[in-house]
Symmetry: C2
Subunit: 293 residues, 2 copies
């Protein structure tokens, strides 16, 4: 029974991989995220995607919003400080007797501020598998970027900054959308905005409308405006999390699009982060989860 199924089941997407030991053999994706399913629909949805991978008794390890209260079965938050995978997986009762399904719990923090994560803890477990004994900070850029202080094989504390969601919302839903269209980019404008936001974080919201005005008055390129917006937001995030990354070992684990921006911003502040790919860390974390009793 060396083959098993790794499942990353988020709010709006499902991704399952047939695993051999710690190596993915095949990956399939679906848009049947947690948001679109009732609890009894999870098992048939998984089987519809991966039935041919279930040749006999099959272990399935899941992470993500599948474990939320509105998910398949709630995998309650473990409170930090604790190991990345918390205080134990939640076993899911299944109708198909071949399946042995377990869900990784999310993490919660009550003090010094309220915070939660669900899904990223598995990537953190992957980072600790990839770099045993890592003592430092893991930055997981995304819709809700997580900064996690890791020490002695535990998550000591963490902080969520919703930079990705703010960027997407401002780009799509505000008057600035007229001045931010397209995929253009200016690395110089980005780094200057990061520096501005770090030195004058109080100017963040005041500077946003400049992007619209500069377009109306001087036809500023949308690519420059996008880079400035991204730089202001990531710079503000770095200003807020300075105690986390200053003088620390930093690992970045994120998607291809945002990881380089965070890496460049940190490098401009004299921090050289190690970069570990998000997918690989999810596999590694679920592999660790599978080894749990």
């Amino acid at each position: 029974m060396t083959r098993w199924i790794a499942v990353d089941w988020g709010t709006t997407a499902l991704r399952a991989s047939l695993m051999e030991g710690d190596t993915p053999l095949e990956t399939r994706a679906s848009d049947k995220g947690m948001n679109s399913l009732t609890p009894e629909e999870f098992e048939p949805t998984l089987l519809a995607l991966a039935d041919d991978w279930v040749a006999g008794p099959t272990e399935v390890l899941c992470c993500g919003m599948v474990g939320a209260r509105q998910g398949w079965v709630e995998a309650r938050y473990s409170a930090v400080p604790c190991p990345a995978l918390g205080t134990g997986l939640t076993t899911v009762p299944t109708k198909d007797p071949r399946l042995s399904v377990r869900i990784v719990p999310g993490l919660k923090q009550v003090t010094p501020h309220a915070d939660v994560m669900r899904g990223e803890e598995t990537q953190i477990a992957g980072i600790l598998r990839a770099i045993p004994g890592f003592d430092g900070v893991a930055c997981l850029p995304g819709t809700h970027t997580k900064w996690c202080h890791l020490s002695a094989d535990e998550v000591v504390s963490f902080r969520t900054v919703m930079t990705g969601e703010l960027f997407a919302t401002i780009t799509k839903q505000t008057v600035l959308r007229h001045s931010l269209a397209g995929d253009g980019w200016s690395e110089d404008a980005f780094l200057e905005a990061v520096s501005d936001a770090l030195s004058k974080p109080e100017m963040l919201t005041a500077r946003l409308f400049e992007l619209r005005a500069a377009d109306l008055l001087t036809g500023q390129e949308a690519g420059v405006a996008r880079a400035v917006l991204s730089g202001l937001l990531i710079g503000s995030e770095l200003a807020a999390t300075r105690p986390w990354w200053l003088g620390r070992d930093v690992v970045i684990t994120g998607s291809g699009k945002t990881t380089p921006a965070y890496a460049a911003a940190l490098s401009s502040q004299g921090v050289t982060p190690r970069i570990l790919p998000a997918d690989a860390m999810t596999y590694a974390g679920l592999t660790t989860a599978r080894e749990l009793p």
Copy 2:
């Protein structure tokens, strides 16, 4: 010809008032904003709303997005420093010979940062009519709040902060919407958040996700969360505009909903603003516009 028509024609709404001297006799509103009209539709739209007010030759004074490039006729931005009503009104050719229509220009600023306004300059003219010789700062809260330095009967400079649009967008479009529903409010939480944002402006984006986490973990009331969000955003705005209001005479001219929040926030910092109603300042500003040659 003491009767005339005052028109505030914005992006999504039109409001016309029959005026006798500087006093509104009757006001009518329509949802036919600039966004929904082609240039040739403005005149019939106005007549459909107010034809019975046009008994003979009738002056019509307009402010707002009606003067944008996509509006009725473009009333080009005047560059500050300049009088609130800029360097002259734009006369609109009409098919109906009874109408004499003029549009107030917007204001633009090139340095120290790019900025524009269209509509608020009329309220500023109203403030200067209401308080002749006012030397200080006008704060016009709204979707895009304006801070205007007024001196020697001119707009010296201004700064737009899109606090209102950020609050609306975050409340409606992000994951925080689940934790911000309703109309609840906590004045204590608001003032504490204002103070927090002023003392630690770099924490703004980092603190937003706490509103979601505190709901999930401890069921924080939506009214408290709304007040904290508003306090963080207005506090950040005050942090950005501190050189504008610190030790200055401040007038606030805004709508009923946001004006008290700005007044409370400024009062908590030892500034006691004068409050002048927005509608009255628009009438006063258009009355001044009508007197221009």
